[in-house]
Symmetry: C2
Subunit: 872 residues, 2 copies
């Protein structure tokens, strides 16, 4: 077993063995770029260290010292030398980026002797002793695990003693005093001297990196990000170069292209006569990299070459760190650069056009979640920089919005009619706020989670929403908003960033999204590649049109209940609920039929011949009843029904656990006349539109909340009989399908039986997750947050489908459903339909389509393409 590799022994393919940083240092060395020499102690050594009960075995120590000797020889320097001391950096580097571990120790090799050598070499006593001081402090903290605050005490005592205001006011002698104090501190804490032997320093530092692989933060990070604990980390030992030896030196960070917009030009920052840590510490402001061209024309030309070589070699935009020591360029790191969505799209398309990568690689380069940035308004960067967030809520629906505060749906609608732009601010929203939500630029709620009504509806509309903002107190009646002890009133300016959850109590200019050429190009490539269809969840022609613009190939979920909340209709559905006989109920339903028919006609027209799945009424009836006494009294007057009867009905319909109550197809079994009315609307609308527009429309009627095959049989019979009547009345027929949601665990468990009657399944993974986990979305937000932060859960299962548990139900249902009906159409219409990881899962288990909110359609198209590429 070989544990240690020189930089000239490795390559970028050896990421698992050498870690990301080590592999790239080796790769750069291999292709002849100027890299300060060094070696990497492998992840195998880390595993061996852990296996041996946190000890470095002799083999590792010996190999490390052999490579150290080689390093001394190559560099012509000597560890601990007073003349030409070898100093090294020790850096961790895992196969995947891993915050939480020990990161970096610089200038290892410094001791009471070599500090003099450094002073000579740099001609700067103060720098040498400050470096030594910093080294002891860093080593003491991260390797020896002495509390950082204890070093600060020593340091501040000296500052106080000599009356220094800033650190830079300390003299070399002061620093020497501090070093003395640090060493005493180490002795007092650990009962031993600070190690003067650089080799001892090195071994301790290596062990500390390995140890840090299993510290709490690292374990938690791995748990949350699903990273295997068995990977281990590598340690990179690299000879130090100094960018602070004078005006011939410097240090910088640069990208091969602009990471903000993707422009093909080197982009970065540079600082003359400085080390990397000076840039980080923010003591001096770095210059744009372009100015390096003037200061170091030759070095810059060389750097341009290196950047070009690296990009051609890695075939991606690189993020590089480098140092210039005495006019000599040294590369310290390279890696694929992080970038904005706009840059990601442009770089990917450019690289294909430049012939560096193919379309599939380009598709794989883009984070699907990131591109939602491109679909929503954003704040003007300059104005945003000047604004101050006063509260933070959940980033429930992305985008930026600005407008006047409004506290009710009615006020919002009125203000918008008066030509204003408004933000609707509510304790939480309910279906009755729908009109106000449509009118508003954005929605802010004080209560509710990522899947609260406000969040779900806003995402559906692609409208900016910050939800569950606990920092604010909303007094809806008094029309005030309190935050940070200050009260704000209706009409005052407010801005929301739904992408990060920030709330600003001031106006900030917003910028409309540009669905530019590169974006269109990437999307068309994605469509060529993917096999999974992408539909949308849309309840009205507006959303349907929006989704088609974003590339939706059909509607996977048209909820019919939202339609009932509109102003003219809600009284009619209430009348239906309050009916005491079937005849009364039928009368009320007959009043709703024309509305429903027009709804569906509008949607069919917007979708053309694309498939449209319409779900029958789903929510419990009590959701439609008024909640307040005033509203109930008003209803009583409106219908001449005694107030007491309305109260009694409300009590009768009350449920302890409405999520598990009288809803979904249970309504249709109890009141078949509701399903009849809806079927009539669906079928007659399709008959009319197909005649009017000459379209071939095949409505897909979806029965919700089926848990028992007989439920579907029952409702299907109602649908088929009603459809037959419609055909007879029209003298024409059309094809339609009847299918079901698979959203109750038992439906997934008995999918074989349910598929006898279902021509399609649409997985309702929201409810499947609720019931499968026993988590009410309304109640367990805090618990899930606790679980994801303490690692009990790797991710919020409402955000990303739990593939192990809930996914098992989906797999079973897919297999069993196809066994009964090989050509059954399978889709998903829960929130997961727009989540990339979940889309991969859907592709893997062989669904035919995913359905998501209009604004997630492009994301789903991209994710589906990536899934197709990966499954090859």
């Amino acid at each position: 077993m070989k544990y240690v590799y020189s930089f000239n022994e490795g390559s970028k393919e050896m990421r698992n063995l050498l870690g990301g940083k080590g592999a790239n240092l080796a790769e750069m060395t291999k292709i002849g770029l100027p890299v300060p020499f060094g070696f990497t102690i492998s992840t195998d050594a880390c595993k061996k260290y852990i296996e041996d009960g946190n000890t470095l075995c002799d083999e590792i120590v010996n190999e490390a010292f052999e490579h150290l000797a080689e390093l001394e020889e190559v560099m012509g320097k000597k560890f601990g030398s007073i003349d030409n001391p070898l100093l090294v950096s020790v850096r961790s580097g895992a196969p995947v980026s891993m915050p939480g571990m020990m990161d970096t120790i610089l200038n290892l090799g410094l001791n009471d002797v070599s500090v003099e050598g450094l002073a000579k070499k740099t001609g700067n006593d103060r720098f040498a002793y400050d470096s030594y001081r910093r080294f002891i402090q860093m080593f003491g903290d991260v390797v020896m695990e002495i509390k950082k605050s204890k070093f600060d005490e020593v340091f501040n005592a000296q500052k106080k003693k000599v009356g220094a205001e800033f650190d830079v006011d300390l003299s070399t002698d002061d620093l020497k005093e501090i070093i003395k104090g640090y060493k005493e501190l180490v002795k007092a804490e650990l009962g031993r001297e600070f190690p003067q032997d650089p080799k001892e320093q090195l071994l301790e530092a290596i062990a500390a990196v390995f140890r840090s692989w299993n510290n709490e933060r690292a374990i938690l990070y791995r748990k949350i990000n699903n990273i295997s604990a068995s990977l281990g980390t590598a340690v990179n030992v690299q000879s130090m170069v100094f960018g602070n030896t004078g005006d011939n030196s410097g240090t910088g960070v640069a990208f091969t292209r602009n990471p903000a917009n993707g422009e093909n030009a080197i982009f970065g920052e540079f600082l003359v006569n400085a080390q990397g840590e000076d840039v980080v510490a923010g003591i001096r402001t770095p210059q744009p990299i372009s100015e390096m061209k003037d200061a170091f024309p030759e070095v810059y030309a060389q750097f341009e070459d290196v950047a070009s070589i690296l990009e051609n070699h890695y075939k991606d935009m690189q993020d590089m760190e480098f140092t210039v020591e005495d006019n000599k360029l040294f590369m310290l790191q390279t890696r694929n650069g992080k970038r904005t969505a706009a840059a990601a799209v442009k770089v990917a398309v450019d690289l294909v056009n430049e012939g560096l990568i193919d379309k599939e690689t380009a598709i794989m380069r883009i984070e699907p979640d990131q591109i939602s940035q491109l679909l929503h308004p954003t704040f003007d960067a300059d104005e945003l920089a000047k604004a101050t967030a006063v509260a933070k809520g959940l980033p429930a629906s992305p985008g930026a919005a600005t407008g006047e505060i409004c506290f009710s749906a009615d006020d919002a609608s009125a203000a918008v009619e008066a030509g204003k732009k408004v933000i609707l601010v509510r304790e939480e929203t309910s279906p009755e706020d729908l009109a106000g939500m449509i009118a508003a630029e954005g929605i802010l709620t004080a209560r509710g989670g990522m899947t609260s009504h406000a969040a779900v509806v806003a995402r559906g509309m692609g409208k900016c929403c910050v939800a569950g903002c606990k920092d604010i107190t909303v007094d809806e009646a008094g029309k005030t908003l309190e935050v940070g002890g200050k009260k704000y009133h209706e009409g005052q300016q407010i801005s929301l960033n739904g992408t990060d959850g920030n709330v600003y109590l001031e106006a900030i200019k917003t910028m409309a999204p540009e669905l530019s050429g590169d974006f269109g190009t990437i999307m068309s490539w994605a469509d060529e590649i993917r096999t999974l269809k992408v539909r949308t969840n849309a309840d009205n022609p507006r959303d349907a049109k929006q989704a088609v613009e974003f590339g939706a190939e059909g509607i996977g979920l048209c909820r019919t209940e939202h339609m009932f909340f509109e102003e003219e209709r809600i009284p009619k559905i209430r009348r239906m609920i309050l009916a005491e006989t079937e005849a009364e109920r039928r009368e009320a339903l007959a009043g709703l039929l024309p509305y429903q028919k027009e709804d569906f006609k509008g949607i069919y027209k917007a979708m053309g011949e694309r498939p449209v799945t319409i779900r029958l009424l789903d929510p419990p009836l009590h959701e439609f009843l008024p909640k307040t006494e005033d509203d109930m009294r008003q209803l009583s007057e409106q219908f001449g029904i005694p107030y007491e009867k309305i109260v009694a009905k409300t009590i009768e319909l009350h449920e302890f656990n409405p999520m598990l109550g009288h809803r979904g197809c249970r309504l249709a079994v109890t009141y078949p006349e509701i399903a009849e009315m809806q079927t009539e609307a669906i079928i007659t609308a399709a008959l009319e539109v197909s005649a009017e527009e000459g379209l071939d429309i095949v409505p897909e009627i979806m029965v919700p909340l089926v848990g028992i095959d007989n439920e579907l049989k029952f409702v299907k019979k109602v649908i088929d009989e009603t459809a037959a009547k419609c055909f007879e009345a029209a003298g024409r027929e059309l094809k339609y399908m009847v299918g079901t949601m698979i959203e109750i665990p038992r439906a997934a468990l008995t999918a074989d039986a349910i598929a006898e009657d279902a021509e399609f399944f649409s997985f309702g993974t929201n409810d499947l997750t609720q019931m499968g986990f026993g988590f009410s979305r309304d109640d367990t937000g805090a618990i899930i947050k606790e679980y994801t932060s303490n690692g009990v859960l790797a991710a919020d299962p409402f955000q990303s489908l739990d593939q192990v548990g809930i996914g098992k139900l989906v797999r079973m249902a897919v297999e069993d459903g196809r066994k009964t009906r090989p050509n059954i159409k399978l889709g998903i219409c829960g929130e997961h339909g727009g989540d990339p990881a979940s889309i991969h899962f859907c592709n893997e288990v062989g669904l035919n389509y995913v359905s998501c909110s209009p604004f997630r359609v492009p994301i789903a198209r991209l994710a589906a393409a990536q899934a197709a590429i990966e499954s090859k």
Copy 2:
């Protein structure tokens, strides 16, 4: 294919082909008993009839006529003859008893000619014409499907015309008029004459029986009782004998043993000069069968022989129908007799002692559900006969109870202390009513289902309970109970029958149960045979002792939350909930520790070395908080906590779907100190009792509501660390186990991972059913009732485990759990643990034990034995 069988061609083994009735008639014929000759048209003929689109094919018709000819020859009579007419009965008879189908047509063969023959034969014109009149009416109704009311109109018109008050006042001529009117009715309705050809009558009657196999009532019955539609029914055609030819004739029904108490003596009723239908019509009161001995000494002796032969032949108590025609005995039917639980037990034990059957057969003879009759008080039969039920609720917990009405737990406790017997009457009960429920003889609630708090707790106590009695209105504050427009007050007498749900507003004497010798014998045989262990659900020493008396082998579920509701403790748990810091919470918990420890010590002492599974705190914390303003204000004073804070906490803890909320192990993850306190109580109690009593106690600590393996890991760590501390403090250790409920679908789906940490699984099939079906027990009682009555569900899945869906989860968890941990202990502790069908399932999937309420332990022991026998 042979479609028709003479009675001398069949046997009792041919039940599927000949139906139950036909097979037994053939069997009696075969063993030489006097059976009026006849033949059976088989179930194959029925299937063929349905296959042929409801037509009798030529083969069936020809075979039937061949057998008819044989019958005429054997009987020496002729169909339609004026001298000696052959009359037959036509009866349906399916392989399993099947109400809902067409049942019987008597005297088929009567027409305008043969009616004269019958008159001659019986010497009774009126009887002959009345028989003909009845025959036309019956045939017209069930075969020709003419509304019965139309015949009644004709009949009543004649009565009115001649001024007859009763049917018997009609003369022969009147009857002839009616017959004329009936025939005209048939002609008017169907446009054809009433068939005069007896063969035509016969074919129509056979077809009508076959047709009735698929009528709505029959289909529904099969659906509900899970009977295959493919079985079909047979038709029995049997020559008529007449028990009404004079005083030498008669008819009777008898059992070979007493079906009420099992006594070994013929038991039944007899009527001289009568037909079976006279007994049924209730026109005359039959005599006890013993009197037949005097009236027909020789025939009775013959009948005694027949009874003895039948019992020895069938090796079970028989239920027989017979007719005596002119001193000649004819057997018309025999079948195994229905019996009470007491009789079932006695007959089974006696038959074993008599050497007729073996123990296994005896065990199989007893309906497990039935024996609960033997464990509870019953009403005195004579007093019950005189009482009138005024309301009916759900039979939530069996037994009979009588006492004074009480409307609150406190009143009940006080009254009982004053030496009274009371019935607690509540709108619905809550955990705070516990003391009152313990004090009361029985519980009546106006609201709640079979699994409401009142029902579950009462069943646990074996206390009579009628729940969800919608007929009554309870005014708890006003202390009145209204039913049928009458008001009843505190102190008035009330009686409940928890076995059938009847409520009486009067006192009825109750009788204590007798666990007699025969019962003990059956139970000991069951224990010899079964392999499944039977534990009990018990939360206190009283229930634990009761269960051990009933044969419980351990505690499968000790709920710890009930303990917290006792008067001294509830303030402490409330203090804990209202705590704002961990320290405050720990202080409150410390106050609860001594109580919990004493609870567990008492339970350990009651159970000896039998295993005890203790479940950590399960319900959401808001269940412990007061609900009314008064109670909140009182709490505020008690602890000096502002009232507003208590209200705020109540609001904070409110949940939309508490069933899917912050409960179970989620509490232990959020507040580990609760689990710590409970573990300390469990372990230290075990240490103390094991020392005091010299017992080897191995507590089983059960973590509820686990859905994620990491939850169990988290809580197990808390338990293990706490136990280690207890052992250290005591200087002694003991073995304990940590396991989990499998009650969340995802737990079943990920049982392999959960078994890494769980030493046992206890299936909580109540919650598994709730979440698996998406049915809240509190809300969906009405829906489930609708579903079971319209056949969407075959049974209430909360009563009997849904083996197809929820059972699939259980099977998966059993298999996956054992894969990870082959010796994992598996049990069930939901309500299903006491349901015989579910126990069969548990035996089949290989659980180690079932756990049920104390009063279901004997039922479970018997069901487990039956399952073991059946699985052989």
